[in-house]
């Protein structure tokens, strides 16, 4: 059994064990299993040969006849697997005390979730990928529905049906692809040239599915409901990893497999992304529920990811990938920040708080760091991703870059406004005064998240290096179809200032 199968087997076995163990044992089993997976993930990262073969740790077993148990990872998958295994133990810790009923089932569902998530990133077979991709619905349905908030049932249904409706069209597209190419092997399909006309249909079917998962405007409405109702750890994993499945599908399937259609239809992605960035940021600004605010901010961040990916160039895609990783850590951290005070006061209403900086200084500090990372302050992970992707977007289209940058300004507005209302101000309310600062368990969750945010912000090369080769491959695959951008990148000759300004303006107007 290879290391990848082992990483899938450990949580799967632990999940079954949790079902039959008592509450206390279930927590311990879950923590041990997720930590073991994290350790294996680190081994994976350490042994990953940067610049080596595109697909590493490949495993193949012909178990199913029609399709294969085929696993393997490239740099992008490696980084997303690292994100998943890094967040999982923290999620288990975050629900250590908060979950009191049916702990065994809860832990089992989280462990199944982990299997499914890393399985999606590892799958090298189209059908295996689809099975993992869809399987995530079931545990998440239970997590939201059983341990969620007051309106949890509605949110669970909405989550399940919305995402299912999206995915089924992708299945039909996959069947057509398998029939056309005669294989379910993903590396082969990545280099298969589908007829251009067929690509358009396949692209649209995939887009219908992945746009919901992403989620893109206007099919994002399941996300705020799901986030608000899910338990803290559920929101962490939903925002941290599940939202990345959509973007992963874009870069793994849609762009390299249907390059011509991607180029033809990129305007859809750009248009939806631009609307999403501005619209959801404005919506976030008006929220009075902390989780809803962060949920809308996730939609806005994901819109920059899609725009960055469809910039079709190295910076744009690398930046989008870094935003995915960064947002994974930061949004999970922000949801945990909400969870910390929710556990103490049992409300997510922003107005019920205020002045937390006085009695919870350590909390305020961490919250500040994650807020800044979400805004994209230099030195934090958010900056690296946003800078790179916006640079890439600018190369493709200055107007899209212009609109997306507005989103960052709005992002600063709603995050700082949130922070001001929750943490600053007078500490007047008695119940808020009585809230204690972080306990050791909460420290143990905050500290690794903060470390990751700073590491990614200060030395992003650790994360970019494994992915660079894969991004280059994708960019090369896209190059023949890539439309000309409107940026004046070849401006090596110095020109008079007024002249340069005029031509840039002119090009922008044409676009």
């Amino acid at each position: 059994m290879g290391i990848l199968s082992l990483m899938l087997a450990i949580p799967a076995v632990a999940a079954v064990a949790c079902l039959f163990a008592g509450d206390r044992n279930a927590r311990l089993i879950a923590l041990a299993a997720t930590l073991a997976d994290f350790a294996l993930g680190c081994v994976l990262w350490a042994q990953f040969d940067i610049g080596g073969a595109q697909w590493q740790f490949v495993e193949r077993a012909d178990l199913f006849g029609r399709f294969q148990w085929a696993l393997g990872i490239d740099g992008m998958a490696l980084m997303l697997i690292m994100l998943s295994v890094f967040l999982m133990p923290l999620c288990i810790l975050a629900s250590w005390d908060a979950i009191k009923s049916r702990v065994g089932l809860y832990m089992a569902m989280f462990l199944i979730m982990e299997v499914v998530m890393i399985g999606v990133f590892m799958a090298q077979d189209l059908l295996l990928f689809y099975i993992f991709f869809e399987a995530g619905l079931i545990p998440m349905y239970f997590i939201i529905g059983i341990w969620g908030g007051a309106n949890r049932k509605y949110a669970a249904f909405k989550f399940f049906l919305y995402t299912l409706l999206g995915s089924v069209l992708m299945l039909i597209a996959m069947i057509a692809m398998i029939a056309e190419a005669g294989t379910t092997d993903i590396p082969t399909l990545l280099n298969y040239d589908f007829p251009v006309e067929m690509q358009t249909w396949l692209w649209l079917a995939f887009f219908a599915s992945l746009a919901v998962k992403m989620p893109m405007w206007p099919v994002h409405t399941w996300l705020p409901d799901a986030h608000v109702q899910a338990p803290t750890a559920g929101s962490m994993i939903l925002a941290g990893v599940l939202l990345k499945l959509g973007a992963y599908g874009f870069i793994r399937f849609m762009m390299p497999m249907f390059p011509d259609a991607s180029a033809q239809l990129m305007w859809i992605v750009f248009a939806l992304s631009m609307i999403a960035v501005v619209y959801t940021s404005l919506v976030a600004l008006a929220q009075n529920d902390m989780k809803k605010l962060i949920a809308y901010s996730s939609v806005a961040h994901m819109a920059i990811v899609t725009a960055g990916l469809f910039a079709f160039n190295q910076q744009g895609i690398e930046g989008a990938l870094i935003i995915m990783l960064s947002h994974g850590v930061v949004s999970a951290a922000l949801f945990f920040c909400v969870g910390v005070i929710y556990d103490r006061l049992h409300t997510r209403e922003i107005d019920r708080y205020g002045g937390l900086a006085v009695n919870m200084p350590a909390y305020a500090l961490f919250f500040m760091l994650f807020t800044m990372a979400s805004i994209g302050l230099p030195g934090t992970s958010g900056f690296v991703g946003e800078f790179l992707s916006l640079a890439g977007i600018y190369e493709a289209s200055s107007w899209v870059a212009f609109v997306c940058t507005t989103g960052i300004i709005l992002g600063a507005a709603y995050m700082l406004y949130l922070y001001r209302r929750v943490v600053f101000g007078e500490l007047t309310k008695d119940d808020v005064k009585a809230m204690p600062d972080l306990n050791p368990r909460e420290w143990a969750i905050m500290a690794p998240l903060a470390a990751a945010v700073l590491w990614m912000g200060v030395y992003p090369e650790s994360f970019l290096a494994p992915m660079r080769g894969d991004v280059t491959t994708v960019v090369a695959r896209l190059a023949p179809a890539k439309p000309a951008g409107d940026a004046q990148l070849a401006a090596g000759k110095p020109k008079p200032a007024g002249d340069a300004h005029g031509s840039a303006h002119h090009a922008g107007g044409v676009q």
């Binding site: 029609r66 099975i131 869809e134 079931i138 529905g145 059983i146 249904f157 039909i172 069947i175 057509a176």
Partner: protein, 476 residues
């Protein structure tokens, strides 16, 4: 003649075994449940063994009226297995003591279904169908003192008779316009110029068969009969006759009407989409778990028909695989329903009463969730695989719009399945204390089928592929 007899051992064994069981019941009395139950189960076992022993034989017997082939064998094994389980689980349900008629009727129904699956002549088709139906009408009203059961029997009989009439009318039209009752000869005739009489014959035959598989718009009897009939009988109705009728329909459209695909394909497509959509929408408001499963079977028949609509060998393979997975799922879910009893020992059938089942009977709730999600076709449960196969067959037969419509409608279906799971897991416990377990055998069947339908089933895909391919190849 004697050579022909040697090839229909399964049918002979069922006939003789059924008669012996009947005599045993008559002479030993209804009290000797174990005795006649054992006789019936041994009969089915022996018949299944005979089917296996005839594996690889491909012949047609009695002047070409009955086929002995892999396709019929596959269907028969499924039918016998489902009948076996339905006899096995019955004694615990009929608390007043099971009467000997029950296993006898099931045996004769199984005989009829075996003939349906092997018929290659319009007359044998009708004899098999009626033998099965007559046994089934009696089974539906088996609890003769129970109002609902009698009502179910009557409804089933009246509507079933209507269906038989339509089928017979279709048969007579086809015979009249083709001059033969033999499938192969009819196919030759259909390969030539079509005329309005043949088309009408096709329509009426498919309508009559549509009743038997409870495809929309001929489904109206299904929810009432499923709800009213005793639960073991419902289990039987939902499993074995579906296989037989589906196998019969497949053989009719592929063998007898194969060349006239243009005439029947659109009918099958209509039946498929109507069943998927109405089966899903109709299920949403149901409060009774047996009615819900009835709609679910209508819904699933729609998916099976998508495979049939493709009209290719891959389509038939998908149909057979689907039938196998469907039978396992259906039997499993009805076994769970059979175990739901309140403190007084009465059957619990109302869905709201299942609230909180996940805490009272976690194993049962988990098994039912697996069955329901599998019926919905959500991966990683194995119910996904046959759905994938039928859609693949449809796409490869250039029926992409059908596949898209079907798969989008399947999302509606998912709604009511997850609504039941919501009741079991998310809602606060209901007042009805669901207690009462099943016997060890029932528990073992439920556990085994739930495990098989969770990820384990995928390991059986190579075996299933070989079996269904060799069975389907017979027809092409």
């Amino acid at each position: 003649m004697s050579a022909d007899l040697a090839l229909i051992w399964p049918e002979l064994i069922l006939t003789i075994g059924g008669l012996i069981t009947l005599l045993l019941g008559t002479f030993a009395g209804d009290r000797q449940v174990g005795l006649y139950q054992l006789a019936a189960m041994l009969t089915l076992g022996a018949a299944a063994f005979a089917v296996v022993a005839l594996f690889g034989v491909e012949a047609s017997v009695f002047s070409g009226t009955l086929a002995v082939d892999g396709f019929g064998g596959f269907a028969k094994l499924l039918i016998y297995a489902a009948s076996f389980v339905c006899i096995l689980i019955a004694p615990r349900f009929f608390t007043g003591g099971m009467r000997a008629e029950y296993p006898v009727l099931i045996l004769f129904a199984a005989l009829g279904m075996g003939i349906m699956a092997s018929a290659r002549d319009l007359m044998t088709l009708y004899i098999g169908l009626e033998l099965n139906s007559l046994a089934a009408y009696v089974l539906a009203s088996f609890m003769r003192t129970d109002e609902r059961s009698s009502e179910a029997g009557l409804k089933y009989f009246v509507l079933g008779a209507l269906a038989s009439g339509m089928l017979l009318y279709g048969i007579s039209l086809i015979y009249g316009f083709s001059g033969t009752t033999d499938f192969a000869a009819i196919a030759l005739r259909m390969g030539g110029e079509m005329n309005i009489g043949l088309v009408f014959g096709i329509v009426f035959m498919l309508a009559g068969l549509g009743f038997k598989i409870s495809a929309v718009p001929f489904h109206m009897w299904t929810p009432d009969v499923y709800e009213g009939a005793p639960t073991p009988v419902t289990t039987f109705f939902a499993s074995a006759p579906k296989v037989a009728a589906m196998a019969l329909m497949t053989r009719v459209v592929v063998d007898a009407m194969g060349p006239a695909i243009g005439a029947w394909q659109q009918i099958v497509i209509f039946l498929a989409l109507a069943s998927i959509i109405l089966g899903a929408v109709g299920a949403i408001g149901q409060k009774n778990i047996k009615r819900l499963l009835a709609y679910s079977s209508i819904n699933n028949v729609g998916f099976i028909l998508i495979g049939l609509a493709a009209g290719t060998q891959a389509g038939v393979e998908a149909v057979l695989t689907y039938l196998l997975v469907y039978v396992v799922t259906t039997i499993g879910s009805f076994l769970v329903v059979l175990q739901l009893r309140d403190a007084a020992g009465n059957q619990v059938e109302s869905i709201p009463a299942l609230a909180g089942l996940s805490q009272r009977r976690p194993g049962l709730a988990a098994a039912l969730s697996v069955f329901l999600l599998s019926l919905a076709g959500i991966p990683p449960l194995f119910g996904f695989w046959p759905k994938y196969l039928v859609f693949e067959a449809a796409v490869n037969a250039n029926l992409v719009p059908l596949a898209v419509a079907g798969i989008v409608a399947s999302v509606i279906g998912a709604f009511y399945y997850i609504a039941v799971i919501k009741t079991m897991y998310f809602d606060d416990a209901s007042d009805v204390e669901v207690t009462g377990g099943g016997s060890a055998v029932e528990g073992a069947i439920v556990t085994a089928s739930a495990l098989w339908l969770s990820v384990v089933g995928y390991l059986f895909i190579p075996v299933l592929a070989v079996a269904s391919a060799s069975a389907a190849a017979v027809l092409f």
